[in-house]
Symmetry: C2
Subunit: 352 residues, 2 copies
Amino acid sequence: MHHSRPYNAEPPPAALAGLPITPLDTFYGRNHGTVPELDPATWRLTVDGMLDRPLTLSLDELRATFPERTVVATLQCAGNRRAGLTRVRDIPGEDPWGPGATSTASWTGVRLADVLAHAGLRPGAAHIAFTAPDVNEQGGPREPYAGSVPTAKATSGEVLLAWAMNGRPLPLVHGAPLRVVVPGWIGARSVKWLERVTAQREPSAGYFQAVAYRVLPPEADPGTAGPGDGISLGPVALNSAILRPGDGERLHAGPVEVTGYAYAGDDREVARVDVSLDDGRTWAQAGLDRPDGSWAWQHWRLTLDLPEGRSAITVRAWDTTGAAQPEHACHLWNPKGYANNSWDRITVTCGA
Amino acid sequence: MHHSRPYNAEPPPAALAGLPITPLDTFYGRNHGTVPELDPATWRLTVDGMLDRPLTLSLDELRATFPERTVVATLQCAGNRRAGLTRVRDIPGEDPWGPGATSTASWTGVRLADVLAHAGLRPGAAHIAFTAPDVNEQGGPREPYAGSVPTAKATSGEVLLAWAMNGRPLPLVHGAPLRVVVPGWIGARSVKWLERVTAQREPSAGYFQAVAYRVLPPEADPGTAGPGDGISLGPVALNSAILRPGDGERLHAGPVEVTGYAYAGDDREVARVDVSLDDGRTWAQAGLDRPDGSWAWQHWRLTLDLPEGRSAITVRAWDTTGAAQPEHACHLWNPKGYANNSWDRITVTCGA
């Protein structure tokens, strides 16, 4: 638990290990404001902006109008593994998330593409913006949460407006009655407690799109960064982490199974995962589970023969372009602590 | 010039510097067999496989049937910057290409998507294969050159069958009378001297798709690697290089403009380029030229105040997912020497 209000909680790494689908009570929670309690009876979704036929829909109407779809998708916060950056240099005002700011669920809802086609997207509607009633309480302006994705992504079949998670009604903390699920993109775009979908010419001007969730250069002051500064995060970069054993754990020497996840956002896939006992001088290849569809993480596992004493275990992944993760968090440090995808490292101590 | 037969030639870095479009006589050449001299009068393109209406077309028929399109696209060999890997450990049988195994041209032809739509792709045609008459002379089987791309890429608007380059007839060494241009993917898929386009269920079984152009793990023996081993290269990973000054150059101390290119394949874009004089401890941001469309590299430039004596200059790029290039070639070494996208480094010596 990083905070109770706003609710921000990360499962311990071991709770994610080996599970293709994360249980509802384990799924990470990242929020910028107090969870809003919306009354499903009076809640309506507004679909407006550059459309031929703007819509206002109850949840029942949404479900009755469009075909139901289920997608297994990993969500990953842009601040996942920030702790590795915080160890390089302090990041004031941001929580030191470990590798558990990511989880995977089976999401059920309707395709945003179907809703937008029904509403009739007009030419020039290059972005689809999402608005929710939760008001930011964590620095920056006190404004409702908002974000957007380009229309090309919004109209791809995998983006859902979801009311169910792992076959159960969407829990309140995960966005009930309806949330957006944007597979392959940073979790910040999968807006919870969705109230409005707007087709527009420009990206959302909301704080969490225009100012936050951007990789600033190291010398920038996040307190004075303006709209448009830095690299706006969207698709999730290649990443991997060790989930078991835990960092600092004491074990018996001998064969130890090391396991974790690897994930490549949007249109990339994980191609190989390597594990090293000598900080990357030599590597052994881990076995890689088949992903649960195109939008899910992959768990990997390798049994290492650990000697007595301390062992440093390092993991890195390669993607389908032949690209590997970068080595050191020190070279990725940025003032808001986003997108740490350096090699993950843990240390364990083995007794006889 | 790496070889005259087969013709393999790389421009010196400075010849690429600052030019959005590479002149025809400077554009790199990478071939596995002798350049075939095809008679345009008798040459025909065969379009066959899982199609409703297979086609056989002369160049005039191709030009008369489909609308003409022009795309500016960077091509990049998977072996670009292999020299950085060769310095880590020898790579027998492969040439030590520098940063010049990449160039950019304006290509004119017809969309492969239009040709395939005309021929009527059948369900299950997941890959589009290309075959050419040039027979491999550089190790591996003596078979004609072949490769394929997934149908989703082949039917994207940017993939061309091109007969012109920079507004001039396509030179023989670049594939006349017709070549494929697959923007954002390794050059090996932009098959020259194209004779056949085949819609099929599986990727090409050709040597250069099934066995070569794959990132093998370091311990693998490329001589015994079988079809399907390693990571099949497709989209080009984020990369950058210094083009001027040259590695080892002697200069006068004081302000020196450093310039080069940065490139991110397929659907990624370059978001930032950093230059360092202390091997990455601190960085300054380079100015980045606007790309000539979605499929072109970007040139960058920064004026550094170089002291007397030796200076090591390092460059790295970030892409639109907030991912940066990895640090060291030693961690990317692979038996065929592909996909070196580690930070580029040069050394210069400055006099008074």
